[in-house]
């Protein structure tokens, strides 16, 4: 019950601190701006004629992967920004001291905060993702092939970041844990891009570096799987290998299984680390 109580407290805090309100307003603004761009694409005249519908759909599909990347970046950084204060911030300020002297298990506090943050980020990801897809459909008629699966994997990006940030936050200060997680994410992403370049240039060491980076922080694996499920089959067929914002083939199943297992292991490590520390 303590887990649910802490998860509920975490969600309430997001609402009371107007985080959800701010996120909702900004999401609507983003949807309006991108809607304007997609509308321009669909109604643009070339030599007095609008683009053929098939071409509009193809361009919309590619643009949508770019928008999805923007959202994955927001979810990833958002995950780090909310997880660091949720655990380390409460330790730094002393807010957790009277809570920890209650008959509660420290593991329950970590799990409660983890679940609360994941619930918040998942609802946010699905809400703004579906809004964006609806805008693209209304303006261009394009609807991605597997929107819910793609959004689920985008949630995975956020959950990976929450997990690793909570692991850092179980021992480090709020600022240190947030920065460490964001740096790790940035490195994982750029190594992923380098890996694609390495694959195109047949440089095995660069490909291996990408694999190792995905093993250490599987945010890139989730991102690639999400993009793959957003791309129409016609687009995938035209791709010759992965590009920074496009994916010809999703990560292999063992890598996905590793990624899900990684979340379990890292959250367990965060629980152990928090349970065995001094305050």
């Amino acid at each position: 019950m303590t887990v649910l109580s802490i998860a509920s407290l975490t969600l309430h805090e997001m609402i009371r601190r107007r985080l959800i309100l701010v996120a909702a307003i900004l999401t609507v603004l983003v949807a309006l701006l991108t809607g304007f761009a997609f509308h321009a694409l669909a109604t643009k005249l070339y030599h007095g004629q609008p683009l053929p519908h098939v071409q509009v759909l193809g361009i919309a599909a590619q643009l949508l992967t770019l928008v999805a990347y923007m959202f994955s970046l927001i979810f990833a950084l958002g995950g780090a920004f909310v997880a660091a204060p949720a655990l380390a911030g409460d330790v730094d300020t002393g807010l957790l001291l009277p809570v920890l002297t209650r008959p509660v298990r420290r593991v329950d506090i970590v799990l409660g905060k983890f679940l609360g943050l994941c619930a918040f980020l998942s609802v946010y990801a699905f809400a703004c993702g579906l809004l964006e897809f609806a805008v693209v459909r209304a303006t261009t008629g394009y609807w991605p092939p597997h929107p819910f699966v793609a959004l689920g994997y985008l949630c995975g990006v956020a959950i990976v970041m929450v997990s690793v940030t909570m692991l850092f936050a179980s021992r480090l200060s709020m600022v240190a844990s947030g920065v460490a997680a964001v740096v790790l994410y940035g490195v994982a992403w750029i190594v992923g891009v380098a890996s694609d370049i390495g694959a195109s240039a047949h440089i095995q060491a660069m490909v291996d570096a990408g694999t190792i980076s995905q093993l250490i922080l599987p945010s890139d694996a989730f991102w690639r799987t999400a993009v793959y499920h957003l791309e129409p089959a016609a687009l995938i067929a035209r791709l010759h290998g992965n590009a920074p914002f496009m994916v010809a083939a999703p990560p292999p199943l063992p890598m996905l299984l590793w990624s899900f297992g990684w979340i379990v292991v890292v959250v367990a490590a965060a629980c152990w680390s928090f349970a065995t520390r001094d305050f």
């Binding site: 109580s5 807010l95 920890l100």
Partner: protein, 304 residues
Amino acid sequence: MQPACADLAIDVAHLAKSYGRIDAVSDVSLQIARGETFGFLGPNGAGKTTSVKMLLGLARPTGGGGTLLGRPLGDRRARAKVGYLPELFRYHDWMTAREELAFHAGLAGVPHADRAREIDGILDLVGLTRRANDRIGTYSKGMQQRVGIGVALLGSPEIVFLDEPTSALDPVGRRDVREMVRALKARGTSVFLNSHLLSEVEQTCDRVAIVDRGRIVAAGPLAEVVGGATGVRLRLGALDEAAFAVLRRYGSVAASGEWQTVAGVAREAVPALVRELAAGGVEIYAVEPLTATLEQRFMEVMDA
């Protein structure tokens, strides 16, 4: 006489805590009876807060050990009956006081049916009924400390740890806390009071311990730690050399008008001194035994 083990709220021996090469606490042994009000004193950095954190299971001792409410330090079942006000208190500033108390009531396992009544009672006790539905972020520091005291009193704890409970309070608030501590004692709750305000400890505690550089340097009943009379102040008529000789035999004499202060006289020796002066024909108008304050004793211990 030490209380029997079953009657002890706290029973720890040789508690120690090191952070690398720094010894925050070297040797703290305490036996505190249930229902006792105990004062824990010491200068900044003496190891008071670290000791309290070890007692509460917030920090693991690197040496020694013991029990809290009959269970090993850090045991969850013992924590069900503990209240704690930290020195650096902080509560959810986006919550109201009533919500904060309800959150802690849930964690403390207060039955649902009793929560509203208990929370109302505590809000009244700490004087926050009128502002109970305002956000804590809008409270003054003193009001936030009252929230903290309320949180510590939730769930009918058997022992309450108050770490500097009046640091943010005005004189009225301090008086209220003293009365609260007395009320807790009256209902049999142990109170572990960690305070720099020695006068408060003096007014509320049964026993005290003075800790310095991680070790307990003095401990016992308040009167015992403070010591007995350290002198006597007398308002006397004209004194001849023989009368002065009598005074000097009991201690060092300092005169101020009609008043003579004799330092170093034990409380039990005062009647004999008065009898001798009266037998020598000295007119005695007033006799005031001087008692050391806890502050004086604290300073003596620190200087030593």
